[in-house]
């Protein structure tokens, strides 16, 4: 990766990976500050269905159809940006990927659900 990162191409819509190497959402939108002052900076990553509202017609449509909470991850929690946006902490400590918790009971009763694939 080069030193400068294009926010639109290099961050937005990229995979978020936590400190335990689990995938925990996409960069659904970005919160920028200081645009009026002429020194814009990224304050936070927005993750979750409500964040799609800012992403055009299809985004508004999808956000209206899918329930979910928006999680705001302060940029200070980002440790590194390569092909993924990597976090300093486990996703659950930041409130990410909570839906995995809702889905888990649906599969964990199946024999072998705790075995390595």
């Amino acid at each position: 990766m080069s030193d400068t990162i294009d926010l639109a191409l290099g961050v937005l819509d990229h995979q978020i990976v936590d400190s335990e190497d689990f995938r925990c959402g996409k960069v659904d939108d970005l919160e920028l500050e200081g645009i009026r002052e002429g020194s814009p900076r990224v304050e936070a990553i927005l993750v979750g269905a409500p964040a799609w509202r800012g992403r055009g017609t299809m985004g508004r449509l999808a956000a209206a159809l899918v329930r979910g909470r928006m999680v705001r991850v302060p940029w200070s929690e980002v440790s590194k940006v390569d092909s993924a946006v990597r976090l300093r902490k486990p996703g659950r400590e930041l409130g990410l990927a909570r839906a995995e918790g809702h889905a888990r009971p649906l599969v964990e009763w199946i024999p072998g659900a705790r075995n390595e694939g």
Binding site: L12, Q15, R55, M58, V107
Partner: protein
């Protein structure tokens, strides 16, 4: 030595994994209607899947991101969502067709009722996916699918006019029946490039933890594996061209296809053909099931991978279970799997640019790929095939309507 062995194993799996219900239907129908005249199109189709999957594999190895990740990164949320929906619809149709193919092959082998075999087939797929490790799933079905080589033996035994076969590799346009010819050309390219192959292939590179050291394996799998897989397509078309074309029969059923091995080789030929078809189609069904779950997870950012415990990637696990159930629901309504196959192949051609273009862009992006970005050769093929894929995508639906699905 161990490395060569591994590469060889991968190639074998790629050969067996290349052929699915779409290849069987389109190659046999093309051979039955046009003899050997469309063989050259298969060459173009095989070139397309080599180019496409080599890029997908390389991007996955270098960046750790599979096809639908890249699609969303490059197209953004809105257009990416359109690509996802199109991809999933094609995946579902393909899956339904493959499941139907499993039941048809089982029916020819056992004589039991079709719907009973649908249920048994889907349950068996579910158990296999749940129990077997990723590497084994890929290989078992690839290897046993190699018994489809019986069609190559059959094609030779049928004593085709080899000079006519050879002239089929020279691009040409027939004097009549042009629209149907073009429809089958589109279908053959579509059958060779069904999108689940690259979704599965790129995600598989990440499942198997490939690193840049494996880029050689990636290239070998794509080039040698798919080229040899292409020979199976040739065999099917030559067999149909030698057997059905002179008789004016256009096989509408899988049983007729298997006849192509039975006529020259007897009962054993029939048995091998059916087992080969069964495993090739089952392998394709499993790849498609996974592809559906990979796509959802990669678009929405869920944890995914067969290498994870199911409880550690629960949405992904539910994703493939739901895929399997939906595929079953579609075929159990009684739709004809062969017709579903034709639709799935034609629609996959229409949707292909939506995933091909982002991959081509990323494979060229030095900020992303560093020294592994496309070189001159990769770009010559990459851009050349972009033109082919766009042309075929535009032509697909009009040809489907004009020819009434190739009926003329």
């Amino acid at each position: 030595m161990k490395r060569i062995f591994e590469i060889a194993l991968g190639i074998l799996a790629a050969i067996g994994g290349f052929v699915d219900i779409g290849d069987i239907v389109f190659n046999v129908a093309a051979g039955a209607i046009f003899g050997y005249q469309l063989l050259w199109v298969v060459v173009i189709g095989v070139g397309a899947i080599i180019t496409y999957s080599e890029m997908c594999g390389r991007v996955a190895v270098v960046s750790g991101r599979a096809v639908m990740d890249v699609v969303r990164e490059r197209l953004g949320f809105g257009a990416g969502l359109v690509a996802l929906i199109a991809g999933q619809l094609v995946n579902l149709m393909t899956l339904a067709a493959e499941i139907g193919g499993i039941a048809l092959a089982l029916q020819l082998l056992s004589g039991l009722p079709y719907r009973v075999l649908l249920v048994l087939g889907v349950l068996a797929l579910g158990v296999v996916i749940w129990v077997l490790r990723f590497e084994w799933i890929e290989r078992v079905f690839g290897y046993v699918g190699l018994t489809m080589l019986v069609f190559a033996v059959a094609a030779i035994k049928l004593r085709p006019e080899w000079n006519e076969v050879a002239s089929g590799f020279v691009p040409g346009v027939p004097s009549s029946n042009l629209a149907v010819y073009a429809f089958f050309a589109v279908g053959l390219i579509g059958a060779a490039t069904v999108p689940y192959e690259v979704y599965f292939y790129s995600s598989g590179a990440i499942e198997e933890r490939w690193t840049p050291k494996d880029l050689g394996t990636n290239k070998a799998n794509a080039i040698i594996g798919y080229t040899l897989g292409g020979f199976l397509s040739f065999a099917l078309m030559i067999m149909a061209g030698a057997l059905f074309f002179p008789l004016g029969i256009s096989p509408e059923a899988l049983g007729t296809v298997a006849l192509g091995a039975e006529v020259p080789l007897g009962q054993i030929g029939l048995l091998l053909a059916l087992v080969g078809v069964l495993f090739a189609v089952s392998g394709a069904a499993i790849d498609t099931v996974f592809s559906g779950a990979y796509n959802m997870a990669q678009f929405f950012g869920w944890e995914w991978g067969k290498y994870r415990k199911p409880v550690d990637a629960p949405r992904f696990t539910l994703g493939w279970i739901v895929m399997l159930v939906l595929g079953f629901v579609i075929v159990v309504t009684g739709v004809d799997p062969i017709q579903v196959t034709e639709f799935s192949v034609i629609f996959s051609v229409v949707a292909l640019p939506l995933t091909y273009i982002p991959i081509l862009l990323v494979a060229n992006d030095r900020a992303y790929m560093g020294r592994y970005a496309n070189g001159k050769v990769a770009n010559l093929f990459g851009v050349g095939y972009l033109v082919v894929i766009l042309a075929v995508a535009v032509a697909a639906i009009p040809l489907m309507i004009v020819t009434n699905m190739g009926q003329g």
